[in-house]
């Protein structure tokens, strides 16, 4: 018998943390390898994670609703007939320390180079207290030297919550109690207000919004496009289209295509500022905003510039259906390079979008409305017009290129006519 640790698994590129939404097993339960053990949520996608071992659940190391970095130990499993020489007690001692400080440590017992192991032993240092600067946070010899120079010798291992048995935990701190309350549950309240802990998704949205608005210097531009011909085209097609495809033909796919083509003309729009590098993507992967009652999701249509209007329409339909049924897939939520937000569906005529971090721009497509317009020199006509509101990362994009890009979108939209094929 030995104790094995199951960690928060990698959940895809650039996903660094995830919240454990729900345990699907409990201490003392038997589990088979690959059995689902928990529901986790990351980057707005929830998924089940499988057991890495067959055995008996010994201990759950994470409370439901907790956000932990990828790689954090989340569960101890007692495994039959393992060759591991580590005794139960030793594993508990070493595995518990990181649990209390999941933000700082991945929970993995660090692998030490011979010299670092020797220096730590000889000087009786606390390995947990040393900040690693090597690859993957490895503690280097230099790190140990610096640590010793800083006078922080004989680092004392910090006391941790989980070192105390669950039943004996003193309820001395309200903050601690709050931490273990699952997401969404009402914590306190009186007649005049309701106080809730934000759910994992709401918290993730909040973090992203704060990150985007604090890191990215936003600038805004608005242009008006005349889409009278587009309206005619869509009205001509919509009945047949719905009969054939089982879903409605909206204006949105036309806007997406126009944006994709304009990005092809101005590829710098398809960029991202990341750690002092400007990355310009070759694939045009448009994030589209899909709202549910609770949240706003941004699934991605990959390589959208290679799709027809009908192809885009069916992909939009698939993504919004998946989201409304709560079945969105991780791969559909990643890799976006530019976002188009259909704010027109709320009746909005003008808005200032927050950039979907770490992209460089977001385009808000407002509602199409009828207006009296001067046509030619001396005539007045009723035309269908729409506002296109663009937010840009002003570090990467200047007004000129953004203006040219918007002009290109406008021209694309105005070029649709009843002759346009959607296939």
């Amino acid at each position: 018998m030995s104790i094995e640790i199951i960690k928060m698994p990698g959940l895809g590129e650039s996903v660094t943390e995830a919240s454990l939404e729900k345990w699907l097993t409990a201490p003392n339960e038997s589990i088979q390898k690959y059995d689902p053990i928990a529901e986790v949520m990351s980057d707005k996608v929830s998924t089940e994670i499988p057991a890495s071992f067959t055995g008996v659940v010994k201990k759950l190391l994470i409370n439901e609703g907790d956000m932990v970095p990828i790689g954090t130990p989340i569960m101890e499993v007692e495994v039959e007939g393992s060759t591991g020489k580590v005794s139960v007690n030793e594993v508990e001692e070493t595995s518990q320390q990181p649990v209390a400080t999941p933000e700082e440590k991945t929970g993995k017992k660090p692998r030490l180079s011979p010299v670092v192991a020797r220096m730590i032993e000889e000087n009786n240092l606390d390995v947990e207290a040393i900040q690693g600067t090597g690859n993957n946070g490895r503690i280097t010899k230099t790190d140990v030297r610096k640590f010793m120079k800083s006078g922080a010798k004989e680092g004392i291992k910090p006391p941790t919550i989980s070192e105390q048995p669950q039943t004996e935990r003193p309820v001395s701190s309200v903050a601690k109690v709050e931490e273990v309350v699952p997401a969404k549950e009402i914590v306190t309240g009186d007649d005049r207000k309701i106080i809730q802990k934000p759910s994992a998704t709401r918290r993730m949205i909040a973090d992203r919004m704060v990150k985007s608005t604090t890191e990215i210097p936003h600038a805004w531009l608005v242009v008006e496009a005349d889409v009278t011909e587009l309206v005619k085209l869509r009205n001509q097609l919509k009945a047949d289209y719905e009969k054939e495809n089982g879903h409605k033909l909206t204006y949105f796919p036309f806007f997406l295509q126009a944006v994709a083509r304009a990005i092809r003309q101005y590829p710098v729009m398809n960029s991202s500022w990341q750690q002092d590098q400007i990355i310009q993507y070759k694939d045009v992967n448009l994030s589209i905003a899909v709202a549910t009652e609770e949240y706003l999701y941004v699934p991605v249509i990959k390589q959208i510039d290679q799709r027809s209007i009908a192809g885009i329409a069916s992909e939009v339909n698939r993504l919004s259906r998946d989201i409304k049924q709560g079945q969105m897939k991780m791969e559909d939520m990643q890799g976006g390079t530019f976002t188009v937000n259909n704010t027109g569906t709320f009746g909005s005529v003008q808005s200032m979008g927050v950039i979907n971090y770490p992209q460089a721009a977001i385009l808000q497509v407002e509602s199409i409305r009828k207006e009296l317009k001067v046509v030619g020199d001396n005539e007045v006509a009723i035309r269908d017009v729409v506002n296109l509101c663009l937010s840009i990362d002003h570090r990467i994009l200047d007004g000129l290129v953004a203006g040219n890009f918007l002009k290109a979108v406008k021209e694309q939209l105005e070029a649709y006519s009843v002759q346009t094929s959607i296939y």
């Binding site: 180079s113 011979p114 010299v115 670092v116 020797r118 090597g134 690859n135 490895r138 280097t140 010899k141 230099t142």
Partner: protein, 329 residues
């Protein structure tokens, strides 16, 4: 002080030793007469010391080695040249079975003090027969010293020491360095030991051990990375390929804890394999990273095609990246 090339330093060393000791003779393919060797290492010596002390041999490497060994036994200090290190193979039996074992076989009564000089190394579009580093054949053969200078100063000082040594010495000269590097060296006489590695640059962060052409890349990269990345690397010129100067190598590895070994030879079983084993044996508990080797791929030898030769050889870029990777490990 006078600025010399590596090749001129070799010539000057032989010249001075021939003037000092009448027992020193030079022979090999094309080394005599007006030609003075295909690279000109012995140019002018036949005119100065006569054809009886500087002479050509047939294209028969076993004979060159055997003659040198016999002369050594008779009290001469023969300097035998193999025109390219690739050509040494027919002489291996003489060198290993006779020259190298002489002292052991005679219970210390006899020795064959010979210097076998030979140009080695790639980077001159020499193709298969003119580019190889054959030193690994002779490493780990007790009784034989294998050395190679990497600087102009050492080229002269080490060759003079080799000529004066009572041990047989296989003296590899990097043919690319012949005219590539120049340096001012003292006019007065000096000797450089042939059994010591040389700490060229002291540093704290990591140790780079190399020799020959790749050492030039190491020195440039280290200087650059010190300035741009603040990496403080210690650089050691191995010089003595066999026996190794273990003390210097272990001391440096223990000090920095990170070791990069750079050679232009194939990765497998080159001299650095032995350096790595030595450090691992003696400095394990001072190491902060795996001992890292940078070398040519495990293909039979250097390609002739320019693009393939370039791909095969360790380059300055590769050295720089390897140092950076190790520093960040």
């Amino acid at each position: 002080m006078k600025e010399l090339t590596y090749l001129e330093a070799i010539n000057q060393a032989i010249d001075e030793e021939m003037a000092r000791d009448k027992g020193v003779v030079v022979f090999g393919e094309d080394v005599g007469g007006d030609k003075g060797g295909v690279f000109g290492a012995t140019k002018g010596l036949a005119a100065k010391y006569g054809d009886r002390r500087v002479f050509n041999t047939p294209i028969a490497e076993a004979e060159i080695a055997g003659l040198a060994t016999g002369l050594g036994l008779m009290g001469h200090h023969a300097i035998a040249e193999f025109q390219f290190a690739d050509y040494i193979l027919p002489a291996v039996n003489q060198i290993l079975s006779e020259t190298t074992r002489m002292r052991y076989r005679t219970g210390g009564d006899w020795t064959a003090p010979v210097v076998f000089r030979t140009p080695y190394g790639a980077g001159v579009r020499g193709g298969l027969y003119h580019s190889q580093a054959t030193d690994k054949i002779f490493l780990g053969q007790p009784g034989l010293r294998v050395v190679t200078p990497s600087t102009v100063y050492d080229a002269k000082g080490m060759l003079k020491s080799a000529i004066r040594s009572e041990d047989p010495v296989l003296f590899y000269e990097h043919k690319r360095l012949y005219r590539m590097i120049k340096a001012e060296i003292p006019e007065e006489e000096y000797l450089v030991p042939i059994d010591k590695a040389h700490v060229i640059r002291e540093g704290e962060d990591l140790t780079v051990i190399s020799y020959g052409l790749t050492l030039q890349y190491v020195l440039k990269s280290v200087a650059d990375l010190a300035e741009t990345e603040g990496i403080d690397a210690e650089v050691i010129d191995l010089r003595s390929l066999y026996p190794l100067d273990k003390e210097t190598l272990i001391k440096s590895a223990s000090k920095t804890g990170k070791v990069l070994l750079v050679t232009e030879d194939n990765l497998e079983s080159n001299v650095m394999s032995e350096v790595a084993a030595t450090i691992a044996e003696s400095a394990l508990f001072d190491l902060d990273a795996p001992i890292t080797r940078l070398a040519a791929p495990n293909t039979p030898t250097v390609a002739y095609a320019a693009n393939l030769e370039k791909e095969f050889l360790v380059s300055e870029e590769k050295v720089r990246q390897a140092i950076l990777d190790l520093a960040q490990f």
